[in-house]
Subunit: 209 residues, 3 copies
């Protein structure tokens, strides 16, 4: 009797995307732990860096799988874009955490905490949306998650602009202005890339409607 | 009697590109109004932001049309690149204007006015070039526009470098150095992206020669 | 008797990639001459800019060849990515050199010398790896070069982070902080793009294994 695999190769892509999405949720929660408590900074940044490297290896697996697979569950280009933007979210979370360490900043500023909360929520929405990717019947719910990710990105954008403007108005030391400007930029970029994930998911839903 | 549409689907792409190109001309003229008069700043930046959002919706229409269309008037990749770079021009114009508002700068510096004049000219050249895209017989003229866009980008680059160098030489307050460095960067990037538009147009002309 | 060309069109791609790779080695050696001696600054930056322009023309030739060629030696997308990332290496070397000139910096800082040495080594590894691209039998050696390029990029990253942190700790004038932060960024990006080259080469080896 011939045993037939019930798990075709394409399921592998969905599994990897879900792993990548869970990975950015983990990274965002570690970032929150870091900015909320501001203790064991070096150890926590090292953990975030490790999570980010794990994300890299997931992305590599997606790309290797893509090279091996002839028929893909959705457009090759979208698979590659989706893997890339999930990866980017983890990268910017790591860059923000690492800049805080490299620049030896004091306690994170309130706007950094606010942005981090938005990153956690966006990452969780991304995780939920990505889980629905393998069920076209759930695309309505997936698209609702995408709308929410867009809303969160707009919110992050407003916080970012307020934070930037505030940096130059207060009595902030000019070195801190330069440091925080960069950190805020990384934090805001993390939510931007969650929006890129949502854009790809919307495109996939549109093409397979 | 059956009525046959004389407007095949592919004409839609040219229409959308022309709308996108006109949109960046509008954005550039509003930017000029903003930096020349420096009045009603908040209202003008809001108008530029609205123009930029309109550009986003044009880009979305191009991408949606691309997903629906099997045979495209030129390479799918070039359609997507062209839509993306026209979008980017509007984004950088908006970022420059928005940074002036967020950073609450005083009157724009002379180099910002000079860069804005170049952006207006580049946007107008882009508009003319894009209009010729649907007429392969006009590609010679389209390529002349592309050469001019490249010349303008080189000019912007020289102004940008002079402006940057000057920022650090004068008596400029260090906070203003940081603010204007970013604003100049956005302005110069707007002309860079006009050059990206020209590069795509040159590629299309080359492939369809 | 009909003479048959023994040089099929696809060899042309390998030739162009090798020229591009040699070109970034030349750029990196000029950069080293610049930062080591800090003499004839304007003339040397002009030479680096010329080398960078030569790189642009090689990239244009690759893209033109790609448009003319129906069957390519490896994936069209990889050809375009490879040409783009080799081009980017030259761009960042030029940007670093040009920023030193525009900002009228004093003698380059020790970390800039260290980063430049890593760029020279990375460029040389890229040149060797690219030379092996036309010989699938040599892919094992090509992949060893890629591992080395990754190691050099990690090293550059550490130097970059140390340099950045140090800028804010010492007595460095705040204007110099801003200037050197940008220059370090360009230098680090040059090694990043060497890593992008390695990523494309690894992908090509994987697909043709």
């Amino acid at each position: 009797m011939v045993k037939i695999s019930l798990m075709p190769r394409e399921y592998k892509f969905y599994d990897l995307f879900e792993q990548g999405a869970s990975n950015i949720v983990r990274a965002s929660l570690k970032l929150k732990e870091l900015v909320d408590n501001w203790q064991n900074v070096e150890a926590l940044v090292a953990e975030i860096t490790e999570i980010e490297h794990h994300g890299d290896s997931i992305t590599h697996q997606v790309m290797a799988q893509l090279h091996r697979t002839f028929i893909t569950p959705f457009d090759r280009e979208d698979i590659s874009l989706l893997a890339g933007s999930i990866d980017d979210v983890a990268d910017f979370i790591q860059s923000a955490a690492d800049a805080m360490l490299v620049y030896k900043v004091d306690r994170p500023k309130p706007h950094a905490l606010e942005l981090t909360d938005i990153i956690v929520k966006s990452a969780q929405e991304v995780e939920q949306a990505v889980t629905q990717l393998r069920r076209p019947g759930e695309y309505k719910h997936m698209l609702e998650r995408c709308v929410e990710i867009n809303r969160l990105e707009n919110m992050a954008d407003r916080v970012y602009r307020t934070a930037l403007g505030g940096l130059f108005e207060g009595e902030t030391d000019i070195r801190d202005v330069i440091k925080w400007r960069e950190i805020y930029e990384h934090l805001e970029s993390a939510t931007d890339r969650c929006e890129d994930v949502a854009d790809v998911l919307e495109g996939v839903a549109l093409k397979n409607a």
